[in-house]
Symmetry: C2
Subunit: 332 residues, 2 copies
């Protein structure tokens, strides 16, 4: 039960090779082959996660592995790309327990199955510092159909998939057991923490983004900050009524009992939903298509001449924000 893995070959062959794509040659080569259809382009994204920053060292290894892949798949989806696979560089502070590695590879396998992609290669080092998982994900998009984040225009309607704030509230619960001292029912607490541990980017958004989005990005660093990126790219301003931010039942109960929690909701990040702009004339078609595939989409606001993003309260007054989102570099 408490055996540790003895070398890199064992780690790769026993735990990772079963996850490998055909082009990865059983992970027994220095590189792997990715085939791209002739009428498609490859989309690449790199988003590493590290213990103490993006997850807790004692999180379930199934969840850590899932999150490592999910945060990268989220970037692909927001560009309209279908996931193909990924490479992974693992930096482990010590030789892992076999039981840990078994659970980690099971979590990766579950995420691969959920997101439709395979392992194309990687590297495992023992290194000082926190556990780090650096995944580079590949997806494919029909030639010329990659959706940028800077190509929306004033007048476009801005939508968000799913619900916002669950993961950020879940993180607070995971860190200290409460959110601003507010009472959270066990069922709601569990739902929020699960969103933090197992982000669930929605593959259904790929088709909607490809067909209708004038610009898109995933919300990972906080809704307000990511909305500001979309608005800046469109050289436009965006007013988001707080009431337009879609909340899960769990998040709604927290915000109702403690209104200041909206700050965490709109700036906490880790949502991994897609924020996208749609030209007004195609909004009805987009809504119908999203409804047809059961993808929840919510209107946040309309891009207008100007700049900046403002969150407004019930009477339309701008709300002061403590922070707009996460800076990877400052850590705040």
């Amino acid at each position: 039960m408490h055996d540790r893995i003895s070398d890199e070959t064992e780690l790769i062959q026993a735990y990772l090779a079963p996850l490998a794509a055909a082009g990865a040659l059983g992970l027994a080569d220095d590189a792997a082959l990715v085939s791209v259809e002739p009428d498609s382009e490859l989309v690449v994204s790199t988003d590493p996660i590290r213990a103490g920053v993006h997850f807790f060292p004692d999180d379930d290894p199934r969840d850590i592995a899932w999150k490592a892949l999910a945060v990268n798949v989220s970037d692909l989806i927001a560009k309209g790309a279908v996931p193909i696979g990924y490479t992974m560089a693992l930096a482990l502070p010590e030789a892992p327990l076999k039981s840990w590695m078994k659970a980690f590879s099971a979590g990766l396998g579950a995420a691969q199955a959920a997101f439709g992609c395979e392992l194309f290669g990687g590297d495992c080092d023992r290194a000082d510092g926190p556990l780090s998982i650096a995944i580079t994900a590949f997806g494919s998009v029909p030639r010329g159909r990659f959706v940028q984040r800077t190509t929306a225009r004033a007048g476009d309607h801005v939508f968000i998939t799913g619900t916002i704030g669950d993961a950020a509230l879940g993180l607070k619960l995971r860190q200290r057991g409460d959110v601003y001292g507010a009472a959270v029912s066990p069922g709601h607490a569990d739902a929020l923490i699960q969103r933090y541990l197992r982000p669930a980017p929605n593959l259904k958004a790929i088709d909607i983004v490809r067909r209708f989005a004038t610009a898109a990005l995933d919300v990972s660093d906080g809704l307000i900050q990511d909305a500001a990126r979309l608005a800046r790219g469109a050289k436009s301003a965006l007013v988001i009524p707080a009431a337009a931010v879609p909340l899960s039942a769990a998040a709604l109960s927290v915000v109702e009992s403690h209104p200041a929690a909206i700050q965490t909701v709109v700036s906490g990040g880790d949502d991994f939903e897609v924020l996208f702009a749609v030209a007004p004339e195609t909004v009805p078609g987009m809504r119908a298509a999203a409804h047809a595939c059961s993808l929840p989409v919510h209107l946040l606001g309309i891009l207008a001449p100007g700049d900046g993003v403002i969150l407004t309260g019930a009477s339309g007054q701008p709300m002061a924000l403590e922070t707009t989102g996460y800076d990877h570099f400052r850590g705040t």
Copy 2:
């Protein structure tokens, strides 16, 4: 002079965006586009480097950046792939000095120019632990022409490009100023240390590997260990006379004055040369082609029935090896 970089946006826009490929959209998106010719396949490789393992924290940032890209390009070359570009995940223990980041990006720029590739995206985090640079490199190979490491056969001749052992001897010099107490002239010492600091995978090998290799890999973990991988893939044995291992003038002078240094030469790693097998009937053609493009190639031995790799001394006796090479995981 001692200003530090204040946030991720400054780091990316001021220092990395000038290195970006067109498909990387100025590094202002979550993902990038890689175009692959319809008759080509994409080759991917991931090889991170970390302070304290692959370089010294006080190495010149130009050299650190160069090495981070070079070790990945080396994998592509050995597969017969032409480098296209790379993504990079930087984990920095503290906000870097602007002067450090300027030198680092200059080193990356020099390596990009030397190897013909561009930056397609990345991620910068501040994280506890040593400086880590995780690069995933992309190359292209004509469809069906990727060269594996396991496809040689008994009877094939095994060649190596360039010279072996320089970087490993350079590392010893960098660590403690001497190699086994042997006197090394300043000129030779500098040459060896430079090979450690600035590995120089040779793009000329791409065409030779594509046209003639039955199997190939780069030598990064030690010649004997990497030769054993080639031999194992061929279900064959390989006898390498120590005298057949090509040495630079600097390495030769060290080995002549201290014969035990051959241990470091054949197992030290960091060579980033290409080890490849050639069917006997195509050896003359390969030699002519290598000569025509000024690629130095040297015969190490011939794959024979059996298994394992043996290094032999002047009278043909097997030499005992202290270690066969580097295990990333055990660190020995």
